[in-house]
């Protein structure tokens, strides 16, 4: 959550609600944006870390708003983030551990596990297709994110098929 907010602030200073609206505008219904509480909390932490600077703006008809801008350290953090390849694990997978350990433990049958997981992936693909159809054609980022999720599921299904070929 920290770096997306820094990246948005690198474009221009903004207050919490504007940041939330910008995330929503970017991803549409393809990705749920963090709630406003999370955003405020993250901004406070970023300020304590010296990456952003907040300034209260007095508003006559409503409570004051706090507008944030990047500090030099914040600029640096965004630049470093953009320049590095993303090397954290790309996939978290609980299913494979079940398949690897479940049958020997006598708590699961491999065919049942594989079939259940395949059905689940197909159901997810179906839901994502529906989401993709509902996405406005103009929202390229949202559509590409859904497509990415679907391609990952297709890879998961291929992997499942390999497991089926080798383990059954």
């Amino acid at each position: 959550m920290r770096l997306p907010l820094l990246a948005l602030l690198a474009k221009e200073p903004a207050h919490g609600y504007e940041l939330k609206a910008r995330l929503e505008q970017t991803f549409g219904d393809a990705y749920s944006s963090p709630n406003i509480g999370q955003i405020y909390l993250t901004l406070q932490r970023l300020e304590r870390a010296g990456l952003v600077r907040g300034q209260d703006v007095v508003q006559s008809d409503r409570p004051n708003k706090r507008v944030y801008e990047l500090t030099a350290a914040g600029q640096e953090a965004v630049a470093t983030w953009a320049e590095e390849p993303s090397d954290e694990p790309r996939i978290r997978d609980d299913f494979f551990m079940k398949l690897a350990l479940g049958p020997a433990a006598g708590v699961a049958d491999p065919l049942t596990l594989i079939n259940r997981q395949r059905r689940h992936y197909l159901g997810l693909l179906r839901s994502l297709s529906t989401l993709a159809e509902a996405a406005p054609p103009g929202n390229k980022i949202g559509r590409l994110l859904i497509e990415g999720a679907m391609l990952h599921l297709q890879a998961d299904l291929d992997w499942l098929e390999r497991c089926q070929e080798e383990l059954l």
Partner: protein, 276 residues
Amino acid sequence: MTRVHVALGRRPAARPRQQAPDPAPDPVPDEPPMLLRSVGLTKVFRTGGQPVHAVRGVDLWVRRGEFVAVMGPSGSGKSTLLHMLGGLEPASGGEIWLDNQRVDGLTQAKWAILRRRHIGFVFQFFNLVSSMSVADNVEVAALIGGASRRAARARREELLADLGLTAKAQAAPSQLSGGEQQRVAVARALAHRPSLLLTDEPTGNLDSTNTSAVLRLLRRSHADGQAILLVTHDARAASMADRVINLFDGMIVDDAAVRPASLRGNAAGSVLDLRG
């Protein structure tokens, strides 16, 4: 669009009278009637040394208007199964019932008539007639299926308009992209309003955009009541079906309805977690 169902040709006289097989397991009273059913279907190839058991006792069914996908690794027997169900390959054993009539023992000629009237085929490689225009490829299929000249022409115009191919009607198939040719192949397969569309990897040779176009087409024709049996490796295609059968080593190892899964309120994020 009303779907007119024409009665099938008579069974071959030589075959002893048989009752249609029992309905599928767990019949629900208000489900549509059976359209296609196989019982203990087998295929053994005996070319060369050891016999190869490609299909080993498959019981499957497709109800009227139902969309069923068959998935499975390469070599699992899915194409052979589809070819047997369409009469393109004789079965080694078991039964095939189409509309409560047994069809597995039909001669090639009888199968040809059956296909012309009741079955549409779409393959991975479009198999359009290269010497005919796009329009004629579709129109001739309707004519062979028994439509009048006027009806065949109207059907062709309707289908090509539906597929956004009206402007290409007079083009030769070779002037079209792969995706366009496959859309024409689907139009041709639907031209005679078959009760069953059989399709083998229809998106196997297409890029992502053309795959989407062909899938949209299949989904729309299914929404209009078309029964479809789709053999595919493409999970996106299979996920559109009402039911997915998994074939492994010539046998069915899973057969279940596709139910949309919850995205847990996080849309694509339930699969792809964006960090930062």
